[in-house]
Amino acid sequence: MEDTRRADGRSPNQLRPFSCTGNPLHRAHGSARWAQGDTVVLAAVYGPKPGTRKGENPEKASIEVVWKPKTGQIGRQEKEYEMILKRTLQSICMLTVHPNTTTSVVLQVVGDDGSLLPCAINASCAALTFAGIPLKHLTVAIGCGVMENGTVILDTNTAEEQQLKSFAHLVFPNSRKSVDSKEPKEKDEEFERGLITSVTHGVMSEDDYFNCIERGLAASSRISDFMRKTLQKEASSVDA
């Protein structure tokens, strides 16, 4: 395996330093500020509030996503992000617990240096947990890119995304603590956890895509542990 160095000196599997601040906004019911290198997204959750909008199923809770870009007007790209986020969050929230309510998620892009969508998904998942919305599991999102020689790089920044032929944003469920002693932790077992969302840009071969998924899954456990520690730290700083 050749040693590919990226433009900013990271190794292919190295992620940018990430940080998460819990509840920076006092008026929101739950909020999180997730930073991956220079990409920073602030997510705020309001809800559950009574009533659904017209056209939504009243037997389930509905999720409303508003994406605010850093500069410029709201256009099709923002609407696309809103739709992807809405579908992702709908699959992790337990919608039948509070029927006929609306939960709003508002995302504000504070800085954009690549992997914007994964950063936003991580931020909104953390914000939903802080707000106490019942979830099936957490999500871990990561951006992967495929270089010309076929190596997969993780956590792409803007420069890399512009140069690369193709890249993908993948969202996995988090690695969970289990009291089940029967299941041994094998590689196949990890693979079975599945993929929640996948957004690809550009053209990549099947093998490259599955490569991305494998690498992304391996890295997702690191992000998952980080998320767990952050949530625990926030909780203990409030209670103790």
Partner: protein, 239 residues
């Protein structure tokens, strides 16, 4: 017939996040387990749906303890609600939950059609949750189980502020919460705590009200000793 006690989950008193498997039911037969907030059953396992500390109350009651700004109504909770609308049969009350609550006009001690209380929009009410499920609007009552008024009803004057649900539980815990104990030694004030994350403070002098409210708001993330130290600090500045 001998009933075997189920072995407690090894995750008790540790932090869980949504998706963590707390109990495996396939090995247990003929045992009852009670699930509180934050847990649900998924086929053969019990999984957490919210992030918090997993607690166990012997012999078999599990729940996830966490603190939020919003409130999920449950029966027999005492809450502080604000009237947002009046209807012929009910007052519509906001209790910081996913739905607005209804307070029947007759749910007061000695309430008849002739002496319906006149609550305006914005009135603060201390009430008890009588019916609460996820599908319907919760129902409140200003009487206790026996039908007496028992301190329920309108709260006049004073100052209301929001807290988290965990903070309310801490204020209502027994033995008395350190911050309230320290304040009570030097000042005299009246306080009502709603489990929905609202606190009402009243005292003859305005500066006492402000001091008590600030002390409570600041004590959320402090331990017992620090709370007492903080209160001492505030009281020194006053005198």
């Amino acid at each position: 017939m001998e009933s075997r006690r189920p072995p407690p989950s090894p995750l008790v008193d540790s932090y869980v996040v949504p998706g963590d498997v707390v109990l495996d039911l396939s090995e247990m037969t003929n045992q009852t387990i009670k699930l509180g907030t934050g847990l649900r059953q998924e086929c053969d396992t019990i999984q957490a749906t919210s992030a918090g500390m997993l607690r166990l109350s012997k012999p078999n009651k599990y729940w996830v303890e966490s603190s939020q700004k919003r409130y999920i109504p449950s029966v027999e909770d005492t809450v502080l609600g604000i009237v947002v609308d009046t209807k012929p049969d009910n007052f519509v009350v906001d209790i910081k939950g996913p739905n607005l609550a209804f307070l029947p006009v007759l749910a007061f001690e000695g309430g008849t059609r002739r002496n319906i209380p006149k609550f305006e929009i914005g009135t603060l009410i201390y009430a008890r949750v009588v019916k609460a499920n996820s599908i319907m609007n919760p129902e409140l009552s200003c009487m206790d189980v026996t039908g007496k008024a028992a301190e329920f009803g309108e709260l006049k004057g004073g100052y209301v502020f929001d807290s988290s649900t965990g903070m309310s539980r801490m204020l209502l815990s027994s033995p008395t919460c350190p911050v309230l104990e320290a304040l009570g030694k030097k000042l005299s004030f009246e306080i009502a705590v709603g489990l929905n994350g609202r606190v009402w403070v009243n005292a003859p002098a305005a500066d006492t009200v402000i001091l008590v409210s600030n002390a409570i708001m600041r004590s959320e993330s402090l331990s017992g000793i620090k709370q007492r130290a903080m209160v001492e600090n505030l009281l020194e500045r006053l005198s």
